[in-house]
C-alpha cells in the first residue's frame, strides 16, 4: 500500500491537487447556467394558430407541445394517464413531448436562460426555481388569456369562473403594465391540526375550539404519556409559521397577513401577531421538548402515526405522504386551529386554505399557446376529479371532487371547508415572495417555540428582517390588495 501512495502522493502533486480541490470547493456560480444572461431577446418563432370558439387560445393544432412534470409526492400519473390523453383527444395532431424530473431547477433553468425552454413547466419540489425571479426576468407567460378563455368542460363559464376564490391571486405578480397572473396554482391545500381520529375517539378526546379547551386537552394528552403537539424544527418549521399566521389572521382578520405581505412598517409587531406568537410560544414551552428542534418532518410524522404525537400542524398532502406508515388503528382527521382569544374577529371554524403547486407556460418555449392549452385541459372538471382521485389532493377547480369518498383525511378536510363557509382565507405570500424572510422566519419560530416562548423577540426579529427586505433594492417587491 505504501508503495502506491508514495509514488502518487509526492508533495508537489498533492499540493496541486489541494489547489484543485480548493478551486472546486468555491462554488463557481457562473458555471451553473451554461448561458449566463442569454435568452433575453423575445422569441419570435412561436407556433400560433387562428382563434376560434373551439380553439380559444389560438394554438397551432399541428405544433408539438413540450411539458415537464415534477416527479414528487403527487406522482406523474395524473399527467401521463389523464391530462395528456385528454389533450391528445382534443388535438390529435399535436404531439405531447413529456418528461418528468425531480430536479426542476437543474434541468430547466439553463433551458430558460438559453431560450429553449419547454412550453409548460411544473415548478415544484426541493429544487424548485424562484418563481418571482422568473416572472421578473420575463420568462413566464402572461396567463390572462387562459383565465378569460371558456372552461374546457363547464359550459358557459370562463376558466377563472370555475376556480375557488384566491386561486388566481396566488399566482399574480406586479410587473410593468400592472398586476398579471403568471402561474396556475393547481392543488388546493387545506391547513390545520392533523390528528388520529381513532386515538381521539378511543380516549374520548374532543377537538377543542377555544384556547382554554386546547390547553386543557393538551394537559390530558400529556398525562396519557403522549406529546400533545409537535412539529419538526430541523426542516419543517414553516408548518409552525403557518400555524402562527393562521391564528393571527383569526385574531385580527386576513388584513394582518396582507400587511406582512406588503412589508408595512410595524406589521410584525401588530397586536394580533404578538398574541398569536405568545399563545403558541406557551404551547412550545409547556408541551414540546427540545428534541423536536433536531427532528425532521418524516420522523415527527412517523411518531404521530405511532401515536406518540397527538396534534401535528400540516396541510392536506399529509395523508398521501404518510400512506405507507398508516396502520389500521390510524385515521387522519383535521381540525381548525382553536380561537386564541374570546374576541377573535374570525370564528373558530375559520381556516387557511390555499392554492399551491405552480404550473406555468414559458415565454421561452416554442409553443406557448399550446402550453396554456395544456393548462386549460388540467383545469377542466374531469381532469381535476381524476387528479384528486390519484393524489388525494383537492384542486383549485371548485367542487370538482364533491360527493366523492376518496379517503378519510380528505373527507375531513372537505368537511372543514364546508363548515368554514365564507371564512376561508388564502393566507400569506411573503414566504414565496421573499425567500430570505422565509428563512429568517424558520429560525425565529424555532427560537420562539423551543427557547422560552419570547413573543416580543419573535415580533422584533421578524420586523427587522421585513424592514431590511423593504430597504433592499436588489429584491423585487410585490403587493397585495
Amino acid at each position: 500500500m505504501s508503495d502506491i501512495t508514495k509514488s502518487e502522493l509526492d508533495r508537489r502533486s498533492l499540493l496541486r491537487r489541494a489547489a484543485a480541490v480548493g478551486l472546486a470547493a468555491t462554488p463557481a456560480v457562473g458555471m451553473l447556467s451554461a448561458c449566463v444572461g442569454g435568452g433575453s431577446e423575445e422569441k419570435n418563432d412561436q407556433a400560433t394558430g387562428t382563434k376560434s370558439a373551439d380553439n380559444p387560445l389560438g394554438i397551432d393544432t399541428k405544433a408539438p407541445v413540450e411539458i415537464v412534470i415534477f416527479d414528487g409526492g403527487l406522482g406523474t400519473k395524473y399527467a401521463t394517464d389523464v391530462d395528456t390523453p385528454m389533450y391528445k383527444k382534443k388535438w390529435p395532431e399535436s404531439e405531447v413531448k413529456y418528461s418528468a424530473t425531480e430536479q426542476i431547477a437543474t434541468t430547466i433553468k439553463p433551458r430558460l436562460n438559453s431560450g429553449t425552454a419547454p412550453d409548460m413547466i411544473n415548478n415544484s419540489g426541493a429544487d424548485m426555481m424562484d418563481f418571482g425571479a422568473i416572472v421578473k426576468a420575463g420568462q413566464a407567460a402572461d396567463l390572462t388569456d387562459l383565465f378569460a378563455a371558456p372552461s374546457f368542460d363547464v359550459a358557459g363559464k370562463t376558466v377563472a369562473e370555475t376556480l375557488v376564490p384566491g386561486a388566481i391571486e396566488q399566482g399574480t405578480y406586479d410587473v410593468e403594465g400592472g398586476r398579471k397572473p403568471f402561474a396556475v396554482n393547481y392543488s388546493f391545500t387545506v391547513f390545520g391540526m392533523y390528528y388520529n381520529k381513532k386515538l381521539f375517539d378511543k380516549n374520548g378526546w374532543t377537538v377543542p375550539t377555544t384556547w382554554a379547551d386546547f390547553t386543557a386537552l393538551c394537559d390530558k394528552i400529556k398525562a396519557a404519556g403522549i406529546t400533545p403537539f409537535a412539529y419538526a424544527g430541523a426542516n419543517a418549521s414553516y408548518y409552525m409559521v403557518r400555524a402562527i399566521m393562521t391564528s393571527a389572521a383569526k385574531i385580527g382578520t386576513e388584513q394582518v397577513l396582507k400587511d406582512l405581505d406588503n412589508l408595512k412598517p410595524g406589521a410584525w409587531t401588530a397586536p394580533a401577531i404578538k398574541q398569536a406568537a405568545e399563545a403558541w410560544g406557551q404551547i412550545g414551552v409547556k408541551y414540546m421538548n427540545k428534541s423536536f428542534l433536531g427532528l425532521r418532518h418524516t420522523e415527527v410524522q412517523l411518531q404521530q402515526n405511532q401515536d406518540k404525537v397527538a396534534f401535528y400542524p400540516c396541510g392536506s398532502w399529509l395523508e398521501n405522504e404518510q400512506a405507507a406508515s398508516i396502520t389500521p388503528n390510524f385515521e387522519y382527521a383535521v381540525a381548525p386551529y382553536p380561537s386564541v382569544t374570546t374576541s377573535d374577529q374570525l370564528p373558530a371554524t375559520a381556516i387557511n386554505a390555499a392554492a399551491g403547486e405552480i404550473y406555468f407556460a414559458s415565454t421561452k418555449g416554442s409553443n406557448v399557446q399550446g402550453g396554456k392549452e395544456y393548462l386549460r385541459v388540467m383545469l377542466s372538471k374531469a381532469a381535476a376529479l381524476e387528479f384528486t382521485k390519484l393524489t388525494k389532493s383537492l384542486t383549485v377547480v371548485a367542487g370538482a371532487a364533491d360527493g366523492q369518498t376518496i379517503s378519510p383525511g380528505l373527507t375531513s378536510g372537505n368537511d372543514m371547508l364546508t363548515k368554514a363557509g365564507k371564512d376561508i382565507f388564502m393566507g400569506y405570500l411573503w414566504d414565496t415572495w421573499y425567500k430570505k424572510m422565509n428563512d429568517a422566519s424558520l429560525e425565529a419560530v424555532n427560537a420562539l417555540m423551543f427557547n422560552g416562548g419570547d413573543a416580543q423577540k419573535f415580533c422584533d426579529t421578524m420586523e427587522k428582517v421585513a424592514q431590511d427586505v423593504a430597504k433592499d433594492s436588489s429584491i423585487s417587491k410585490n403587493t397585495r390588495a
Binding site: 468555491t26 457562473g30 428563512d439
Partner: protein, 301 residues
C-alpha cells in the same frame, strides 16, 4: 526522437488544458464578472460595481459564517493531523523493533484498512449516517446508548454544540486518508535512521519527535493546506445535517452555505458570486500563508 517531442506533449495536454480552461478557469472568470452585477440567476443583469462587496461587508450573517469557517480552520487541521500522526506512528513504528525492522502495533495491517473506510463513503452518505448517530431523542444512536434516566443530548439542535458536532464528523471522515498519507511518508524514512536512534537508546516518544516529525514535515504541511481548504468548504455536511441549513440560529452557518442560499434560494447570483470571490481569495491566502509560515529547511536523510 527529439523532434517528435512537442506534438506528443501537445497531443496529451490539449484536452485536459481545454477542459480546465473551460470548466475551471472560465467558470472562475465568469464568477468574477458576475460578482460585479445584480444578476438574479434568471434573464439579464446590469453592472453594479462593488455594491455586492459593500453589502457583503455589512452582512452580519456572512460575518457569522466567516467566524465559523475560522473555527473549523483552527481546529480541523490540527486535530486531524495529530490523530492521524499518532495512528500512523503506531501502525508503522509503534510496535518497536524486531529483527532490525521497525514495525507497527499488533494487528496494524487490519487497522490500516479499517481507518481508510470512512474515506470510501460519499460525504452525503456520511452526513446521513451521522444524522442518525446524533439523533436528538432516544432513537438517536448515541442517545440510545446513554442510560435511560439521562435527558437526551441535543447535538445538532443545541446552538452551542452544533458546529462542534459537524467538526467531529469532518475529522472522523478525514483521519483515515491522512493516516495513509503519513504511513507512506514514514515508510520512506530509512530503517537505518531508526536503527541508529534505537542504538542510542531513544524511546518511542523521542523517535516520534526527533525523527518521524521532522522527516514528515513536507507531508504535514500539505495535509495542513488540504484540511484548511476542507474547512473553508464543509458545505455537504452543513446542508444535509443541520437544522434549517445552517441553524439553529445560524450556529452552523458557513460561507459555502451562504453562497448556495443566495445563489439558488434568494435569487441573488451576483451577490453569491461576490461571496465566492471572497472565499476564493481567503482560501488562496490561507494556502500561501501556510506555506510561508511553515517553511523549513528540508531535512536531508
Amino acid at each position: 526522437m527529439r523532434h517528435g517531442k512537442y506534438p506528443f506533449i501537445i497531443g496529451f495536454l490539449a484536452v485536459p488544458v481545454a477542459l480546465y480552461a473551460i470548466f475551471v478557469v472560465g467558470a472562475y472568470l465568469q464568477m468574477f464578472q458576475l460578482s460585479l452585477t445584480d444578476w438574479s440567476g434568471y434573464g439579464t443583469f446590469k453592472n453594479v460595481g462593488f455594491d455586492n462587496f459593500v453589502k457583503l461587508w455589512n452582512d452580519e450573517v456572512v460575518w457569522t459564517a466567516l467566524r465559523h469557517n475560522g473555527y473549523l480552520l483552527l481546529l480541523l487541521p490540527i486535530v486531524t493531523i495529530v490523530i492521524a500522526l499518532v495512528f500512523a506512528f503506531l501502525l508503522n513504528v509503534g510496535g518497536g523493533s524486531k529483527g532490525g525492522m521497525t514495525q507497527g502495533v499488533w494487528g496494524s495491517k487490519v487497522y490500516r484498512v479499517v481507518f481508510f473506510f470512512p474515506q470510501l463513503l460519499a460525504l452525503a452518505l456520511v452526513a446521513v449516517i451521522f444524522q442518525r448517530v446524533y439523533g436528538p431523542d432516544k432513537s438517536g444512536m448515541i442517545n440510545g446508548l446513554l442510560p435511560d434516566s439521562w435527558e437526551p443530548w441535543l447535538f445538532l439542535a443545541d446552538e452551542n454544540w452544533a458546529l462542534t458536532c459537524i467538526l467531529i464528523v469532518l475529522i472522523w471522515q478525514a483521519v483515515g486518508f491522512y493516516v495513509v498519507l503519513f504511513s507512506a511518508g514514514m515508510g520512506s524514512i530509512g530503517q537505518e535512521i531508526y536503527e541508529a536512534a534505537a542504538l542510542d537508546g531513544a524511546t518511542r516518544i523521542t523517535l516520534f519527535f526527533k525523527i518521524t516529525m521532522p522527516l514528515l514535515w513536507g507531508n504535514i504541511q500539505v495535509a495542513w493546506i488540504y484540511l484548511g481548504i476542507a474547512a473553508f468548504d464543509a458545505f455537504a455536511l452543513v446542508n444535509i445535517m443541520t437544522v434549517n441549513q445552517g441553524g439553529p440560529n445560524n450556529s452552523t452557518q458557513v460561507l459555502s452555505m451562504q453562497i448556495y442560499l443566495n445563489a439558488f434560494k434568494y435569487s441573488q447570483a451576483g451577490y453569491a458570486s461576490a461571496i465566492g470571490v471572497v472565499l476564493f481569495f481567503l482560501a488562496l491566502s490561507f494556502a500561501w500563508l501556510t506555506l510561508r509560515v511553515t517553511r523549513r529547511d528540508n531535512v536531508q536523510a
